[in-house]
């Protein structure tokens, strides 16, 4: 039963995704109902799976050692739940956002296909399966960026495609080497290095692992392969940007997490130059992303840079290789997904309902779109890390994990960079709120509109409420996260 559900989580959206463009349903209501039914089933399936302990399923074997297999553990549960709920809310929002766009079918088709691939990646049990789904996600989500078919969007989509592929190549190289030096390609918490085979080749292996993580980092927007994010987000439709930044970019994080913690093992890289280099890159990304966001005026591009910065918060947490910092990273995965989807949907709302793409055009919209702007404000506060909203909790664990890590320079540099970046985050998000609610005297107040109807504002409100409440109620699940983080160390 559990195995069926696990398989269905992947196959159901795929089936629906293939059928949608083929069937060409004329009845829009029916089509929306079908899509939402699929998304709801996914969410329900994810909840059912959350309650299970673990499950395994081997699909087929390519060779004797290379199998494509699924398995669910704590990490899968976290990513799966985020993916299911993020896609559900973005999908509902998209019904109204895309309106009667001509390529609606293809959008929802690829939307669902990406979801299926993402589920597959979350549930994969070894490096090969994960790599398979990782590439599939790239290929299936690229058409989401391509949606508008303008010159600019084609350019951006290609950039996305090739940054991802370049990264994946680097990672593949790592997987080849790991196949040689590990006992098994299956994910084993604490890593599965064959120390006998590694002996004498440690330095080589470190280089390879470093490159592999940089490669997977392309998807997560880690420097130096982050360039696709700010290009792809402004041209993609808002719900697509939302899932790209909130969930699909996290696939890169998952890949890094699996590679470092479940294949190589945290102990092997701990204290080496590789860890220092990763931390350096991640911290550089954190600062650079915030700074770029601060100077950016196009709303969605600003959010894209913000994603670059925030996802690297997660990576900083993971690269410290201590349970506490990793826990902060895991918490930030969930919180950032929630917040960033919300923010992108808000940006989309302004685009569809008011035709405003730039942040400096939003003065005075507090009266016109109170629900949207209030949600934006709450989500912003959560992202900055103002207590008691959610970002504060994850940053607390990240910083205290860093300070307790015992890495001389990074242990204090990381919290400082995180806080400077938080300050910049305030600098690029709060002015939007301030100008929205308090425009000053010589701004024409825009007319009130319906904020896109309930299908648009409800997902936004739900997400922003979650962004705040998850922080307030975080005591309920910190133990689970702590256990999860500890389990990654074998």
């Amino acid at each position: 039963m559990i195995k069926t559900i696990m398989l269905c989580l992947i196959l159901l959206p795929w089936a629906a995704g293939f059928l949608l463009p083929v069937l060409k349903l004329k009845n829009r209501r029916g089509k929306c109902a079908l899509i939402s039914a699929v998304l709801l089933l996914e969410a329900a399936g994810a909840v059912v799976m959350l309650l299970q302990k673990s499950a395994e399923l081997t699909l087929f074997s390519m060779t004797k050692t290379l199998t494509v297999a699924l398995r669910m553990d704590g990490v899968s549960k976290l990513f799966m739940a985020i993916a299911a709920f993020g896609f559900l809310l973005s999908g509902i929002y998209a019904f109204r956002y895309l309106g009667h766009s001509e390529r609606e079918d293809s959008f929802f088709g690829f939307f669902l296909l990406s979801l299926g691939a993402l589920m597959g990646m979350d549930l994969s049990s070894n490096l090969i399966t994960m790599y398979l789904f990782f590439e599939l996600i790239t290929l299936l989500s690229m058409p989401l960026v391509l949606h508008d078919r303008t010159e600019e969007s084609i350019r951006a989509a290609l950039k996305y495609l090739f940054y991802s592929i370049a990264g994946a190549f680097l990672a593949l190289l790592g997987i080849f080497f790991l196949a040689r030096y590990t006992t098994t390609l299956d994910f084993v918490s604490g890593g599965s290095l064959n120390m006998g085979a590694v002996a004498g080749h440690e330095k080589l292996l470190l280089v390879v692992i470093f490159l592999a993580v940089v490669g997977f980092g392309a998807k997560a927007g880690m420097y130096p392969l982050h360039g696709w994010l700010p290009a792809a987000h402004p041209v993609a439709p808002a719900p697509a940007s939302a899932v790209l930044s909130g969930i699909i970019a996290k696939a890169g994080v998952l890949a890094i997490l699996r590679l470092v913690y479940f294949s190589v093992g945290a102990d092997f890289v701990k204290g080496t130059w590789v860890q220092m280099a990763w931390l350096g890159l991640a911290l550089l990304t954190v600062f650079m992303g915030s700074m770029m966001a601060y100077r950016e005026k196009v709303f969605k591009k600003r959010l894209a840079y913000s994603s670059v910065s925030q996802i690297s918060y997660v990576l900083v947490g993971l690269f410290f290789l201590t349970p506490e910092a990793a826990m902060g990273g895991l918490l930030h995965i969930a919180f950032h997904a929630c917040i960033k989807i919300c923010l992108f949907l808000v940006a989309g709302s302004f685009i569809v309902n008011c035709g405003k793409h730039r942040v400096d055009e939003l003065a005075g919209y507090g009266k016109a779109m109170p629900k949207t702007l209030w949600s934006f404000t709450l989500a912003s506060l959560a992202l900055i890390g103002i207590p008691p909203a959610s970002g504060f909790v994850s940053k607390w664990y990240l910083a205290s994990g860093a300070l307790n890590s015992g890495l001389s320079v990074y242990s204090w540099l990381a919290p400082v960079v995180l806080l400077v970046s938080a300050l910049l985050t305030a600098g690029y998000l709060l002015p939007i709120t301030i100008q929205g609610f308090f425009p000053g005297k010589n701004v024409t107040i825009p007319e009130k509109n319906n904020e896109g109807g309930i299908l648009m504002w409800l997902p936004i409100i739900v997400l922003s409420a979650a962004a705040v409440l998850l922080g307030i109620l975080s005591g309920c699940f910190t133990d689970a996260f702590s256990a999860l983080a500890n389990s990654m160390f074998g």
Binding site: V393, I434, G475
Partner: protein, 717 residues
């Protein structure tokens, strides 16, 4: 339970008020006042009961921890009292305002958060409520939405955010070095801790965070800007309560983490002295009623900080300093309640705050007169009022410090001078409001008998009457308050009861009064008369309104330096030197006042960081671009002819011919030749793009492979 109720009742009530306000405006203000009254009742009930602790587990990961002890009892009573009084005044003050729903909503939210800060038993909880408080009180400053209000509010928010993050950094460090932020455990753990340096860094961060809210130099910049633009009831709370929440944070670390630490005490003492003097000087030169009061708040906070600094210096014999600091906190809250309410009464009648516009408004208004006089005398430290008591204690503690061998003579004199300046600027306000006559509107002012309604009058009277009540019963009431604070302040036992009205103590007050009188008559009167603007030439004031403060400061300083220079003799070198220092001083002045100097610096820093980030960010893209322009260059652009002469064209022509033969003459743009041409063009373009980009991906692979192989060959043999 009662603690939680106190914090969350106003927060819930805020939502209810907002809802009620959509139906009935009078009921909204009534409900808000009732909430504050209920809070006061709860506070009285809690204060009469035992010391309590409470805990909400699991909120924000660690849970909220609350505690009620003597000091907190005093302060929650004051907070609730002040909130009740200001809310009663608000009803009349806001009668003609828009967006009152927002004001009441955020006002009640802030009440809950502020109580949360004071009741917190660990710094983590305090920070959570502190941040909520900062953000909800932001709407007070921006309430009127004028350009000035927006600018001031943004400054307020910036300082709040930066301060909050600094405090958070301090908490990170504290948590990682000591493993807790629980206030009562900090002292013992800090004693056992080996890395004192980290503790000082942590303390400095927390000091910056809470000091910013307290208005401590050099983070006071928001204070003189925010108060004049905020509504008066909100100003009273900002000045009377919110700054005290900053002081609470400073106390929490000074009395625990750095208890009896003379180095820490010295830092606080220096910052406090600067704040005290600077605030007093700024207040003296201000011509805006509320701005004067705001700068005065800053100065009084400086007095409190001096007390806290002395606590560190005096070690275990810090009873005088602790009692003085606590009582001055309490007193200052009460003064500022009265004074800002008076300012509110003036503003709601005249909608003006400039001293020249409101001149003479208070004449023939006995209630306002009495309240303001009590407030002014109280804050000026006139004997028999409460301010005298706390200032005497603070002064005594400095004297005690001198007795212990610290060279604090300068601090003592600055203390007395600041006391004198306090009197001088309060006299200035008092004379302006109640003695002088308005040149044109005096009759109109005198005729205003219904300048405030009954509830507001009662609130003002109740607030004002507390000052002499406390002052006259100092030996009982104020000593009792000071005793309650002993636990929180970790003050030693008082060696002997202080006789407040002894000759020795009266001497300090007398010195201050003499200095005050001298400053008022020599500086304020002479200077203003010398500029010829204050009394006689009324219309010129209007022109100078915006620029008044700065020229005064800049003219006054050169005057002082000029006389000093004259003493040294008029030669070229000293002249240049003085000019330079005058310039430096005036730019320093603008740094304190308007922040003109720091703005470009921070802007430049930001720009540099931005450019660097841009360079770093686009490095890879630039590399790709470079490669595509050089090694992976696309061929020269295909010309139309080449497409036309290609195979596709011939096929297209044939297809077209066939179509014509079948009697289907397609329009020009639908001919097959064109169609094939377009398809081919798309195909070629796409392959170009793909190869161009794929080459980059492959390049990355090659680079990676090259690195690995080079590594194998060269290093890893």
């Amino acid at each position: 339970m009662i603690l939680l109720a106190m914090i969350f009742l106003p927060m819930v009530s805020g939502f209810v008020c907002y809802g009620v306000g959509r139906r009935s405006k009078p009921w909204r203000s009534r409900l808000a006042a009732m909430t504050a009254f209920a809070e006061l009742a709860l506070a009285v009930f809690a204060a009469l009961g035992k010391n309590l602790t409470a805990c909400v587990p699991a909120v924000c990961g660690f849970g909220l921890h609350l505690e009620l002890d003597g000091f907190r009892k005093v302060y929650i009573l004051i907070i609730c009292f002040m909130w009740l009084m200001t809310l009663i005044l608000s009803d009349e003050y806001f009668a003609h305002y828009h967006k009152r729903g927002r004001y009441y909503f955020f006002n009640l939210m802030t009440l809950g958060a502020t109580l949360g800060v004071f009741l917190a038993s660990d710094l983590f909880t305090a920070l959570i409520f502190f941040e909520i408080m900062s953000f909800t009180s932001y709407t007070w400053v921006i309430q009127e939405q004028t350009d000035g209000a927006i600018r001031a509010a943004n400054t307020y928010l910036a300082v709040a955010v930066i301060g909050g993050l600094a405090a958070l950094m301090g908490l990170f460090l504290l948590q990682s070095t000591l493993g807790t932020t629980k206030i009562s455990e900090l002292y013992a753990l800090a004693q056992a801790c080996e890395s004192k340096k980290t503790l000082y860094v942590a303390g400095g961060c927390i000091l910056a965070g809470f000091g910013a809210k307290a208005g401590m130099f050099p983070l006071h910049i928001w204070l003189p800007k925010a108060h004049p633009v905020a509504p008066a009831p909100a100003s009273a709370l900002l000045s009377g309560v919110l700054t005290k929440s900053g002081i609470w944070g400073i106390l929490a670390i000074s009395c625990n983490l750095f208890r009896y630490d003379s180095r820490w005490g010295t830092v606080i003492l220096i910052l406090g002295t600067v704040t005290m003097v600077l605030g007093a000087v700024l207040a003296l030169f201000s011509v805006d009623l509320k701005r004067t009061l705001a700068c005065s708040s800053m100065s009084q906070i400086g007095f409190i900080l001096v007390g806290i600094g002395m606590m560190g210096l005096l070690g275990e014999e810090n009873a005088l300093a602790a009692r003085g600091a606590l009582l001055h906190m309490v007193n200052h809250s009460l003064f500022k309640l009265v004074l800002f309410m008076c300012a509110g009464v003036v503003y709601m009648n005249l909608h003006q705050l400039d001293l020249n516009d409101i001149r003479g408004f208070g004449r023939k208004k006995p209630l306002l007169h009495l309240a303001f006089l009590l407030g002014a005398m109280g804050i000026g430290g006139i004997p028999l009022l409460n301010g005298y008591v706390s200032k005497t204690l603070l002064h005594e503690s400095i004297v005690e410090g001198i007795g212990l061998g610290y060279s604090l003579k300068a601090v003592e004199w600055l203390f007395l001078i600041s006391g004198g300046l306090t009197l001088a600027y309060m006299t200035k306000l008092y004379v302006c409001l109640f003695v002088e006559k308005h040149p044109t509107r005096q009759a109109e002012f005198d005729a205003k008998k219904d300048y405030m309604n009954l509830p507001s009058s009662l609130a003002l009277l109740a607030s004002a009457i507390l000052l002499p009540a406390l002052g006259l019963t100092a030996n009982r009431s104020m000593n009792a308050i000071a005793d309650l604070g002993t636990d929180f302040f970790h003050a030693g036992a008082l060696e002997h009861a202080v006789r407040y009205l002894s000759l020795e103590n009266l001497k300090g007050a007398a010195i201050s009064i003499v200095i005050g009188a001298a400053v008022y008559f020599l500086v304020v009167r002479k200077l203003l008369v010398k500029n010829g603007n204050y009394v006689n030439r009324w219309p010129k004031w209007l022109d100078l309104e915006d620029l008044l403060y700065r020229p005064l400061l800049l003219k006054w300083l050169p005057a002082v330096f000029g006389t000093a220079a004259a003493l040294f003799g008029e030669n070229k070198l000293t002249k240049k030197l003085w000019q330079g220092s005058v310039k430096a001083f005036s730019s320093l002045g603008s740094l304190f006042g308007e922040n003109k100097l720091t703005a470009p610096i921070s802007k430049a820093l930001l720009r540099i960081a931005g450019i660097l980030s841009r360079a770093v960010c686009d490095l890879v893209d630039a590399l790709v671009l470079l490669l595509r322009k050089t090694v992976y260059r696309e061929g020269p652009p295909q010309t139309e002819d080449k497409y036309a002469s290609s195979l596709s064209y011939r096929f297209g022509r044939h297809a077209d011919n066939i179509a014509v033969r079948h009697g289907k003459e397609n329009p020009a743009e639908h001919r097959y030749a064109r169609l094939f041409y377009r398809l081919r063009k798309t195909f070629i373009d796409t392959t170009h793009r793909l190869t161009g980009n794929l080459s980059f991906a492959l390049l990355a692979l090659c680079a990676a492979a090259c690195i690995v192989f080079a590594y194998i060959l060269l290093i890893h043999r």
